[in-house]
């Protein structure tokens, strides 16, 4: 027997156990690295999900549907106080709205008979939607007496329906029509042109739809609702559109529209949907870019509301903030960085500034409410107060950024200036500060971007007030973009949701622009010493 024992290795990896241990250690290494990648992956995917959901949510709000009307502006209805009284004409909402009501009634005579139906029909256009028409007429009195084409926004819920919201839907082919006859109860019955009685359609209805889904039936220009389908007959209620001749239908095609959400659970009725479809086919409802979002002020009706007042309010607020925080912040930074003697007081100021930068923003709102509103008695809801509060809020940020910029200017610049006989003030203001300016500007812009997105302090000083006019100065009641987001978010109607997302997109565009400017300033002017 020879000595079969392996030679004793001096390597630490000589034994099986050691190699296994090394394997474990390498596995741990890979795991650890993976955790890091996972963490970054989660954070970045959160960013993309956020961006995607907001943009896809906002997309419907960038277009909207409107109804075309040809209205004859007869003087009696439109200007009962006479053509000269333009103010009365401009606010004569009921007069103009009655024109719209008449027009709708003429288009859909089937709704004229019952009060309830008329009300449903009139709901296609909000009462206040005629305000623009009234104003236009008041401005050019020559229009009175003529017939002119006007447009009015479609009610928000129908608008949402036409954009694919409110309810899931599907179109089905039913078959070919046989006889249409009216029953004693006022319902209609429709038979198949063949003997079978729409077997495929019935099977689909049985399997696919819930008991409370609406099934709308289209026969030529008319819409019906399917009430029952017993035997070879469909029992129908007439909803909208001109009834076809009773009797034989010469195998006309029948189609069906299934709305999966029950009528009771949605804000638009089957009838309104049928009317909207008919109007769309006539070319009287059309979809167009929603510029109202940028040009109109707030309203209680989503289809009439826009963000213009909030945009202007935000601009005023930012102006006040910038005029306050940027000069004060820069000067404070210059003092702390260049002039301040090292003593207790300046040390306290420094701790203070660092701490203020971390104080919750809502505390600044409380400060604004207690000091500016209560103590100084300044008005509520105005950009002046909002701008000052936000100015105090971002002041530490401006100071910290400016100090960093001043610090990065090499001391040789200062010593050179001093050596040539400049005073300390001259050295700072003529040499250090201009060289630090790009860094300071970048910091200031980023601070402004932060102020633009700040909401909570503005809520506490009353900038949530309902403002339906674009403010003309920083001492006018107004609101701001982030506050508008909060307000519309709290609105009950479904249509507010895409509108809110759209305002978020507007706000983000502003923020991205500001950050881009900051990056450009840095790229263009930054000097490395």
């Amino acid at each position: 027997m020879t000595d079969a024992q392996p030679p004793k290795s001096t390597s630490p990896f000589g034994s099986e156990a050691a190699i296994a241990r090394l394997k474990d250690r390498h596995a741990a290494e890979r795991r650890f690295k993976l955790y890091g990648q996972l963490a970054i992956g989660i954070a970045l995917s959160a960013l993309f999900v956020l961006a995607y959901s907001i943009i896809s949510n906002a997309a419907p709000a960038f277009t909207k549907h409107e109804i075309v009307f040809h209205l004859t502006l007869d003087a009696e209805t439109v200007a009962p106080n006479g053509v000269e009284d333009t103010q009365a004409t401009a606010s004569n909402i009921s007069g103009f709205y009655s024109l719209i009501q008449d027009d709708l009634r003429e288009t859909f005579p089937e709704a004229a008979t019952e009060r309830q139906l008329r009300r449903e029909l009139y709901a296609l256009v909000t009462r206040l939607a005629v305000l623009d028409i009234a104003r236009e007429t008041a401005e050019t009195p020559a229009l009175i007496g003529t017939t002119k084409r006007f447009t009015a926004p479609l009610s928000d819920d129908l608008d949402l329906y036409l954009k694919g919201g409110i309810t899931a839907r599907r179109t089905l082919t039913v078959g070919q029509a046989g006889r249409l006859s009216v029953l004693e109860s006022g319902l209609y019955s429709l038979s198949d042109s063949g003997p079978d009685g729409f077997p495929e359609f019935k099977a689909k209805i049985e399997t696919d739809t819930a008991a409370d889904s609406s099934v709308l039936i289209r026969l030529q220009d008319a819409w019906f609702r399917l009430e029952a389908h017993s035997g070879a007959m469909l029992t129908l209620t007439h909803l909208a559109g001109a009834l076809p001749q009773l009797g034989e239908q010469q195998s006309a095609e029948i189609s069906a529209l299934v709305l999966f959400v029950a009528q009771a659970n949605r804000a638009v009725s089957d009838r309104q949907i049928a009317w909207a479809i008919l109007l769309q086919e006539k070319g009287r409802i059309r979809r167009k870019q929603n510029f109202d979002l940028l040009t109109k002020a707030d309203s209680t009706y989503p289809e009439l509301a826009g963000a213009a007042a909030a945009i202007v309010g935000s601009i005023f607020t930012m102006l006040i903030t910038a005029f306050f925080a940027i000069p004060v912040g820069i000067l404070a930074a210059v003092y702390l960085e260049e002039f301040a003697p090292k003593n207790r007081l300046t040390n306290m100021i420094e701790v203070n500034i660092n701490n203020l930068a971390a104080v919750p923003s809502i505390i600044f709102g409380l400060l604004g409410a207690a000091v500016f509103l209560n103590f100084f008695g300044m008005p509520r809801s105005v950009p002046l107060v909002g701008g000052l509060v936000l100015g105090l809020l971002v002041l530490p940020t401006v100071i910290i950024a400016s100090r960093a910029a001043l610090k990065s200017v090499p001391p040789s610049i200062r010593t050179a200036a001093l050596g040539l006989g400049a005073s300390k003030t001259q050295a700072v203001f003529h040499h250090t500060l201009p060289l630090a300016a790009p860094g300071i500007m970048t910091g200031a812009i980023i601070a402004m971007a932060r102020a633009l997105g700040e909401t909570a302090p503005l809520l506490l000083i009353g900038m949530v007030a309902f403002v339906n006019e674009v403010p003309t100065g920083p001492d006018q009641e107004s609101t701001a973009l982030p506050v508008l987001i909060y307000k519309w978010f709290s609105g009950a109607e479904r249509a507010w949701e895409p509108m809110t997302s759209a305002v978020i997109v507007i706000l983000l565009v502003f923020l991205i622009l500001m950050n881009l400017v900051a990056v450009l300033v840095r790229r263009r002017f930054e000097r490395r010493w």
Partner: protein, 473 residues
């Protein structure tokens, strides 16, 4: 004429007066220098450039006038009010202090809007007219006084100018003082915050219907909107719960991202990923709130309903509310990630490379180096970063206002709609606020507690960061 003066936008007049006076003073100073006789040695060389002489006279002119205007701004309005209150008939004055001040508020409002239409109430019309008249008188006096002191200062300044006068020194002293004032605004802000919170909090505990201090801090019933139950324990519980949920998301993700970015990532990856992560910090909180409420909260709810429907889980085990602490906490966590990651990134980068090299040379793998050498060295800084993040989570408002609830509960169930301190502050102070009900002022007491708690977190964290920086510098 006096009434008309009471209507004008006075701030603009003040500004115009100061600007014109400043202009005149500047050129007068320069002219005074030009006219000064050439005296003294060194062939009459100027000590300071002519502009400094101009600015010196400007300082002498404007500062006293500005002080007069400041005085008007502080006491002028109150002076008019007191004067008017003395002249008003007894039946209005007897109505009590609050009613009187509201009446004068209306007068002032009416007078400044310069309504030409009379209200029909003879007393009100006369009083508002008198208000405008008094305001006009006080303003006229202010402008007069300001002009007098400005003239005095102007005269004084111009007299001092000659070719050897060290104007620059004086001007620079002025500039220095201005700079100091700007820096001190930060202190004034803190003082303002503390004073306003303290005063209102004291009022809250002394007002009728207000609670005791212990009742407020340790009471378990919160019902400020309607009743008078001011026990903030449930609010504090909700705040901490949501902050904890947020930290459960933010701490691991933020820390691991920071470690990966500073230790593993190639420079290319770093230059792309870091700004993207920081983008998360630039998104306004109201956007996060919207995201939490419309996307995450429904998901959390259906998840909770799914759990409830599982076998062996008792009925209604989870509350599954439409808005929930969990939704708010998760999204808040995402918001705080860049905060944690960039702060800890700085800290990790500050650990000297020699420590790493030593560990690697001993045969440690990279992850072992990080776990056993770098992280222990960076620990104080990382803890400070986490503390700052917690303080941020506690003070965050919009996410909880939009995605958490308003019900003051103490329950460990994260799918119920817990409320927070910040939520209640917003709920209490939004809308029409009267500063004299326990309901409104309780918001300030809540704010005081919030300020105190975040201050402690911030101070500890800042102190740790400072100490830590010194250690490796």
């Amino acid at each position: 004429m006096l009434q008309a003066f009471g209507h004008l936008p006075f701030e603009w007049i003040l500004f115009a007066v100061l600007a014109v006076a400043g202009f005149i003073a500047f050129y007068a100073g320069r002219m005074a220098l030009a006219a000064a006789p050439v005296t003294g040695g060194e062939m009459g060389r100027l000590h300071s450039q002519p502009n400094y002489h101009g600015f010196f006279v400007v300082m002498c002119t404007i500062i006293p006038a500005a002080l007069v205007f400041l005085g008007y701004w502080l006491i002028g309005d109150n002076f008019v009010r007191d004067q008017l209150a003395g002249e008003l008939p007894a039946r209005i004055v007897e109505g009590g202090q609050l009613q009187l001040s509201q009446y004068i508020d209306r007068l002032s409002d009416y007078a400044t809007r310069r309504e030409t239409i009379l209200t029909g109430d003879a007393l009100f019309d006369a009083a508002s007219n008198r208000f405008a008249q008094l305001t006009g008188q006080v303003r006229l006096m202010t402008v007069f006084l300001a002009l007098v002191v400005a003239g005095g200062g102007f005269h004084f300044g111009r007299r001092r100018i000659n070719r050897e006068f060290r104007a620059r020194t004086f001007v620079e002293r002025g500039i220095n003082f201005l700079l100091f004032l700007c820096a001190a605004i930060a202190i004034f802000t803190t003082i303002g915050v503390v004073l306003s919170l303290v005063f209102e909090t004291i009022r809250f505990f002394t007002i009728e219907g207000g609670p005791t201090v212990t009742g407020f801090l340790f009471g378990t019933d919160w019902n400020a909107q309607t009743g008078a139950n001011f026990g903030m324990l449930p609010l504090f519980f909700g705040t901490l719960m949501i902050a904890m949920l947020a930290m459960c998301v933010a701490a691991p993700i933020g820390l691991f991202s920071a470690i990966y970015l500073s230790e593993y990532a190639s420079p290319r990856v770093r230059t792309w990923v870091k700004p993207l992560l920081e983008l998360l910090a630039g998104i306004p909180t109201v956007v996060y709130g919207f995201f939490a409420a419309t996307i995450i909260a429904p998901l959390v709810r259906s998840g909770a309903q799914w759990v409830n429907a599982l076998p062996l889980v008792p009925d209604n085990f989870l509350a599954a509310q439409p808005t929930s602490a969990l939704a708010a906490g998760l999204v808040m966590g995402v918001m705080i990630v860049p905060f944690v990651s960039s702060l800890s990134d700085d800290v990790i980068n500050a650990v000297p490379q020699t420590l790493r090299d030593g560990a690697l040379a001993m045969g440690a793998t990279k992850s072992e180096t990080i776990k056993q050498i770098v992280m222990p060295a960076a620990l104080p800084g990382v803890i400070a970063a986490l503390l700052l993040a917690v303080s941020r989570a506690i003070g965050e408002t919009m996410i909880v206002v939009m995605a958490a609830g308003g019900r003051a509960l103490i329950t460990p169930d994260p799918t119920s709609d817990l409320t927070t301190v910040t939520y209640q502050i917003v709920a209490l102070l939004t809308g029409d606020t009267e500063f004299d009900s326990a309901k409104t002022i309780s918001a300030f007491a809540l704010g005081f507690v919030l300020f105190g708690v975040t201050l402690v977190f911030n101070l500890i964290a800042l102190r740790v960061v400072q100490k830590y920086r010194e250690k490796y510098d």
